[in-house]
Amino acid sequence: MTRRIFEDAIDAAIADAMASDERVVLFGLDVPMLRAGLYARFGEGRVLGAPISEGAYLTAAVGAAMAGLRPVVEIMMVDFMGVALDALLNHAAKLEGFTHGRWRCPLVVRTACGAGYGDGGQHGQTLWGLLAGIPGLTVVAPSTPDDAYGLMASALAHDGPVVLLEHKLLTKNWLEFVGSGGRAGLSFDVPADGHEGEVSGRPVPFGKAVVRRRGDDVTLVSLGVGVHRALAAAELLAAEGISAEVLDLRSVLPLDEGAVLASVRRTGRLLVVDEDYRRFGLSGELAAVVAEHGVAARFARVCTDDTIPFARHLEAAALPSVARVVTEVRRLVDARAPAKRSATAPSAVETAH
């Protein structure tokens, strides 16, 4: 066990793979400075700085992976995937299907995501639902340094394309880089257990959720920073006599349907805590999984509804928060309350009966 901060755990997994496999290369915009340690250790040739040409270098990574390299590519923020999405949507994700598995593309995309530091709607999205909507990709979003190492290790060993999203509230350097900028006096709601922790160095299998807290009355399903919000909410709810189970998905795609179903069958209530957009994404998918398996459950979701506003108080209200989770759980467990759609705005926050 080594104590590491979140991004160092990811770097360590990359370093381990680069040390043991010459085919692993790292490239992307600003990588020589962002990953100065890896650049210094593996040098030019293995670590390449790229121009701001995400469409070209991400698609080139697909080609390189097809021709024998195992590239790790950085897209600085997942929001910028917009200019490069074709590489994943039409190339990386489809190769295995087109060739009936005869040709695969061992590509890892590392990208920062998430809001909570007041940077506006083009720099704070999570977009894992959008990416996981593309068959052929693996999409993971760790919530702890141990999982960050483990999922990156699995990604590096995998023969298909994987996107690993690291939340900026969990990564000290990103938050310093784009949030505080060396200023004192700003506060960010950083989950301590996600930001730094023990790293076992073991790979974490894809599609395997983990129960972070046992409970009987309601299942909270989340990932990334949302897991920590759900855990904090579960703690508050316990004081009210509500026992909440917290399931950390870790992988969006493949989705651990079995773990979700097993928990929801027991609790009869499912609340999805998802920082990604509410519509047409992960939360709706989880509702579909439950419905498809004939599990009768009360369902609600706490997500991001709309373009993330810049002003910090508006941003805080727009993101899944402990308060929003607590309110929704109270509604779910209150048998008298009529079944309803999840509250979409924090203005709907009210005291339970």
Partner: protein, 339 residues
């Protein structure tokens, strides 16, 4: 031939500078959240180009938009309130520093590098049909010039003969990357290859920028197609305020911490070939030296002889005082709003 209004150019540069120093203070106090890309080093360029803006023209800005917004005449108090996330801001506090929009002034911003060019081409397309005398200005940096969106726009704007002036603000850097390390060819040659009229100008000299812009706009306004102005400028605060590379270059302690990490890794076992490692170290060292060289007064266009525009001390003092009062009033109004 028309002549530049030297006092107006000086006033424009001064308004941008003073406005941004006020923004810096508010950001430093923690009253503005997120990233803050000041355009310190672009004042002469912003003033010289925007002096040619006419009512009805459109402006498409990148993540470093303050110079264009101030020169365009968007009320300072509206922009400041927006930066503070105030309900009374330009976008009701929803957009923020990288997402400033004023429909009334037909000026917009995007934080996606390279995107201002095609957005500007779209502005130009609309203007061509709806307001034939007007043109669109689209800004981007040397980093953006390698974005597919930008390169495709060179072609698109050319074949559609769009009334578009692309302005490449070349400060030498794309975030932490020295642009020349990742750029093949040069912007002017590239643009000419696509059939644009293009000029290279010293962006530190407002008069030179003014004349170059006038020549290019004569072509664009005549409906003969798009043009590109390539202007060298500087980046006095790094990529954004609090840029860690700038802090490391200025502060020995911070630099030493980064240096230790690099040295530890450079000497770690199971790494790359020694030659490759040394090359990486050399390049990193060079970056820090270049960055350091780019900071400081000698790179500040507002402190260069050209930046005084040949005005007397008296004339400049009068303008400075008026601008200071304007910005102070805007800050006071916003501070009151936010309180």
């Amino acid at each position: 031939m028309t002549r530049p209004d030297r006092e107006a150019l000086y006033r424009s540069m001064r308004r941008i500078l003073t406005f941004e120093e006020a923004v810096r203070a508010l950001w430093q106090e923690g009253r503005i959240s997120g990233e803050m890309h000041l355009c310190r080093g672009e004042e002469a360029l912003a003033a010289g180009v925007m002096a040619h803006h006419r009512e009805g023209d459109a402006v498409s800005c990148d993540h470093r938009p303050h110079g264009q917004f101030v020169a365009r005449g968007v009320p300072l108090v509206d922009v400041l309130a927006e930066l503070l996330g105030d309900e009374r801001g330009l976008c009701a506090g929803r957009g923020g520093h990288m997402h400033l929009f004023s429909r009334r002034h037909l000026i917009a911003t995007t934080g996606i590098v390279g995107a201002p060019a095609p957005l500007g081409a779209g502005f130009a397309l609309a203007l061509k049909r709806l307001q034939p005398a007007a043109v669109a200005f689209a800004y981007g940096g040397d980093g953006a010039a390698n974005q597919g969106l930008f390169l495709e726009t060179l072609n698109l704007a050319s074949v559609w003969r769009l009334p578009l002036l692309l302005v490449c603000k070349d400060n030498g850097w794309g975030v932490t990357t020295w642009s020349r390390d990742v750029t093949a060819g040069d912007q002017v040659t590239r643009a000419r290859a696509f059939g644009l009229v293009a000029e290279r100008v010293d962006g530190m000299d407002p008069i030179a920028v003014w004349h170059a812009t006038e020549r290019l706009l004569a072509h664009v306004r005549a409906g003969r197609g798009p043009a590109l102005l390539h202007a060298r400028c500087t980046r006095l605060d790094g990529h954004f305020l609090g840029d860690r590379m700038v802090r490391a270059a200025r502060d020995l302690e911070e630099g030493a911490e980064m240096g230790r990490n690099v040295v530890e890794n450079a000497t770690a076992r199971h790494g790359g070939r020694m030659r490759d490692r040394l090359r990486a170290l050399a390049r990193m060292g060079k970056s820090v030296v270049r960055l350091k060289r780019g900071l400081g007064k000698k790179n500040d266009p507002t402190l260069q002889p050209a930046g005084t525009l040949g005005l007397s001390d008296d004339a400049r003092g009068r303008i400075d005082a008026a601008v200071d009062a304007e910005v102070r009033a805007a800050v006071a109004a916003v501070a009151k709003e936010a309180a």
